[in-house]
């Protein structure tokens, strides 16, 4: 497949020659529009917050073949991948960070320990825990790969013997649920040699729900059917599971805190003009629905941060870890997955683009 793809793209050439493009670019040097990328975005590390230790939660049957006992799972693992992921600093925006730890939501009251293991043929998946609010579900699981499968991978795909990242991909979700983003990291270094111990990988995946909300009665249905391995030397192996792993997860443990408002105002966000219809805020996520946006041509490209202001005066900017916007008929949907859960009751206001939504007394 790769050689065919490469062969096709080799024949794609720009309509302008290099000289023609160069002349046009240099001729506009004086009038060049400063964009949002005048310098490469600086990367910074998030500060780790104090995570309130989770109380032991009884495991419930989640529709998988193996049953496990409650182990008092540590929810801080959920955000390890998120917090270690460095974010961009856009010129002109200063990130104050969360100073006051009391505004960090208590993860133990919105999560559950699972400890359920399934052998899917090529390895095992252990569902370790889940966290949910009415917009988002996050599922955490560990992957191992069997020695013989790893050996075959090295023989066929990775001549350098580099340990691969592992991933278990899903293909079925509840109607209205969409896969948002995932974070994974190997528990052993991926660039180690073949002689070290077998690979393990720990993954967190997030699913968001739109045009409605999840409730305590919801049962999340997820089917994992593709297992893949890839290493830094670009080796890649994808295996279809003979029997998909199905996770049926009742969400009766979820945090139901939710703010839903309908501002019905015109806003500007990311150089687009929108009519903002609905905003929904939960501990893990903010969603807003708009009429289709209109590009404001004269403004340079930029990205507006999301700004949370809390009643204690703390302000948090640009902490999104993933964002999606979809065009669905007459509505656009925007979803921002936060990298720190918040107590929605402590919010004073949220700023989206040039609009600030004051939440007032509740």
């Amino acid at each position: 497949m790769k050689s065919k793809y490469t062969e096709l793209f080799d024949n794609i050439t720009p309509p302008k020659t290099d000289d023609e493009l160069l002349r046009e670019v240099l001729s506009r040097r004086e009038g060049a529009v400063p964009g949002g990328f005048t310098e490469p975005p600086k990367r910074r590390s998030f500060r780790k917050p104090v995570i309130i230790a989770a109380a032991a939660v009884a495991a419930v049957s989640v529709g998988v073949t193996a049953a496990g006992a409650s182990t008092g799972w540590d929810f801080s693992r959920l955000f390890e991948g998120f917090y270690s992921r460095r974010a961009q600093d856009y010129a002109g925006y200063v990130d104050t960070g969360i100073e006051n730890q009391v505004i960090t939501a208590d993860l133990s009251e919105m999560g559950i320990s699972l400890d359920q293991t399934v052998d899917f043929g090529y390895g095992t998946v252990t569902f370790t825990g889940a966290i949910a609010d009415s917009n988002v579900v996050m599922i955490m699981y560990d992957l191992t790969v069997k020695d013989e499968v790893l050996e075959e991978y090295y023989n066929k795909y990775s001549k350098e013997g580099k340990k691969p990242f592992l991933n278990l991909d899903c293909s079925f979700l509840n109607p209205g649920c969409n896969y948002s983003d995932g974070f994974g990291y190997p528990l052993s270094a991926p660039d180690s040699t073949i002689n070290e111990k077998a690979v393990d990988c720990s993954i967190t995946k997030a699913y968001y729900y739109r045009d409605g909300y999840l409730s305590n009665d919801t049962v999340l249905e997820v089917e994992f059917d593709i297992f893949n391995m890839s290493a830094s030397d670009q080796s890649w192996w994808e295996l279809e599971l003979e029997e998909p792993v199905t996770l049926s997860l009742p969400l009766d443990f979820m945090n139901t805190d939710r703010i839903a408002v309908s501002p019905n105002v015109e806003i500007t966000h990311d150089n687009y003009r929108y009519f903002l219809e609905d905003v929904v805020i939960t501990p893990l996520n903010i969603q807003w629905y708009t009429q289709p946006g209109e590009r404001i041509e004269h403004l340079p490209m930029r990205s507006d941060p999301l700004i949370y202001r809390f009643k204690d005066g703390t302000e948090v900017k640009n902490y999104a870890i993933s964002e999606s916007s979809e065009y669905n008929g007459d509505r656009e949907f925007h979803s921002v997955l936060l990298d720190k859960p918040i107590n929605v009751e402590d919010l004073a206001s949220v700023t989206i683009g040039d609009y600030t939504l004051y939440l007032g007394r509740r």
Partner: protein
């Protein structure tokens, strides 16, 4: 950024950047516009890149973001969702036309990851850093993109 360096990077990366933008936008005119805009932004880059590869990755990131914006603009302004559906597309077989069924089968965000992986030879980790997404997101998009391409291309073992 000096004129000399701009010239160097145009000659080094114009074709590469065009193909990246084309894999996203599926339009030669739009892809060339994104190329031009990307190099215009490079004009304002303060200082120099430590290595040419750093500039290449920076340009790819800019081009992908510009392509996303342009695609969004097309959706909301009633222009052809896929510019290559316009009536003035030549009927004769061209490299673009032969590639069309392939890349039209992929959502744009999958196409960019597939292209960077298979054509430019970046690893999943490098793509994740360039596009500012997680490695898991890259591998998921690669997996789904491959599934969609399976029917059109011969699998390599």
């Amino acid at each position: 950024m000096t004129d000399q360096n701009i010239e160097k990077y145009v000659r080094l990366y114009h074709s590469m950047l065009y193909r990246v933008a084309f894999s996203y936008l599926r339009s030669s005119a739009d892809a060339e516009d994104v190329c031009q805009d990307s190099f215009l932004r490079l004009l304002n880059y303060p200082g120099e890149f430590p290595a040419d590869e750093d500039c290449k990755r920076w340009l790819i990131r800019v081009a992908v973001n510009l392509s996303k914006n342009l695609l969004k603009y097309r959706r909301t302004h009633g222009g052809p969702q896929d510019p290559l559906d316009a009536a003035d597309i030549p009927a004769e077989p061209t490299a673009e036309n032969e590639l069309l069924p392939l890349i039209k089968s992929l959502p744009p965000e999958y196409g960019a990851v597939i292209h960077l992986f298979y054509y430019e030879g970046y690893s999943a980790k490098e793509i994740a850093q360039m596009l500012d997404i997680s490695v898991t997101a890259v591998t998921s998009r690669l997996s789904r993109g491959r599934r969609r391409l399976k029917k059109l291309l011969t699998e390599e073992e």
